[in-house]
């Protein structure tokens, strides 16, 4: 006896993601899910974003890591509210974890929520968190061949931040290769070349974030 099911296998995560999405819409919160390998500079990007925008717009951050409160502490030092999710071994954040964390913020006053996912260019791409936009970060030291190797991260993103461009002079990193490969997977992808350390290119990212919120 055959039963046609035709059901999404990760439906349980998608149900929570959908409820998060509705919540963000109702509260008019622009939520960004930030994905990258460990060490690409996500937290530094967020620290600099916090410092530049905290007096213009209300931002909060959810930090995902296997262990420690390090990143949430770094964000709180900038003056922004931040909640750390320790996954205790899980390699990605799930939509349900976000649902459970949201009440820890004053969401009535929030404009932008940035979720820094667990550092991992593979698994977080499979789990919709209900975000409004997805940002993928690739740092130059990781190499210029990552788009074809990890296509899902790039295919599903709205923004690609190519970070640590100040290091390019020391590396064999072909930035046009990255842009070409990324655009092949995702023709609408916005690409910003930045250095969170030197602040080069960061203005364009800030502008995108503020305009996207509107």
């Amino acid at each position: 006896m055959k039963i046609k099911v035709n059901k999404k296998i990760l439906e349980r995560n998608e149900d929570f993601a959908e409820s998060n999405r509705k919540f963000f819409k109702k509260k008019n919160i622009f939520c960004v899910n930030m994905i990258s390998s460990p060490g690409s500079g996500k937290t530094t990007i967020l620290e600099k974003t916090a410092k530049a925008l905290k007096n213009k717009i209300n931002i909060a951050v959810i930090e995902g890591d296997l262990y420690t409160e390090f990143d949430a502490d770094r964000i709180r030092k900038t003056g922004l509210p931040a909640v750390q999710i320790e996954t205790k071994g899980a390699c990605h954040l799930s939509a349900q974890q976000i649902t459970k964390t949201l009440h820890q913020f004053d969401t009535d006053k929030l404009d932008i929520l940035i979720i820094e996912n667990v550092g991992n260019l593979v698994c977080p791409s499979d789990f919709d968190l209900g975000e409004t936009a997805r940002a993928v970060v690739l740092s130059t030291a990781e190499g210029d061949d990552k788009c074809a190797k990890y296509p899902k991260a790039f295919a599903q993103a709205d923004v690609l931040l190519i970070n640590k461009i100040d290091l390019i002079k020391h590396l064999d990193f072909n930035i046009s290769r990255v842009k070409r490969d990324a655009k092949k997977l995702n023709k609408d992808l916005k690409i910003f070349e930045i250095s969170a350390k030197t602040a080069k290119g960061m203005e364009r990212w800030f502008k995108w974030l503020i305009n996207a919120k509107r």
Partner: protein, 122 residues
């Protein structure tokens, strides 16, 4: 992809959908896209592990891989996107737009016809 979670989800659904108590699952068909891809070996391994002791034990798992369609901007040919060789199969140009990737889907579950109830043996 999370093959262990996928395997567990398939089994949970099969148990929930079982028409009669004790009806064994003989075959499950799932499908995935090229970007929403699964590793066959890992998901089969996970399925076997998670199926042990359930109505899915011994069931066959079929995994369909749905190609990702692309349309060439030069000659308008519709072709299957090949990650290793991302160019139009007709004109060879690599200027194309990608369609939507197929989702990860549990398509069908096949149950064994229930055997007639045997008398209780003590």
């Amino acid at each position: 992809m999370h093959e262990a979670i996928v395997a567990q989800n398939i089994i949970d659904t099969a148990i929930a959908q079982a028409p009669k108590k004790g009806g064994k699952v003989t075959r499950v068909v799932i499908s995935c896209g090229q970007i929403n891809a699964l590793n066959d070996e890992a998901v089969k391994f996970g399925f076997e592990m998670a199926a042990a002791g359930t109505i899915c034990q011994g069931a066959k798992l079929k995994i369909k891989h749905i190609p990702l369609k692309a349309i060439c901007k030069n000659c308008h040919k519709k072709f299957n996107f090949d990650l290793y060789n991302p160019k139009c199969s007709k004109c060879g140009k690599s200027d194309f737009s990608l369609g939507d990737d197929a989702p990860l889907l549990l398509e069908e579950i096949e149950f064994e016809a229930c055997p007639p109830q045997a008398g209780k043996i003590h």
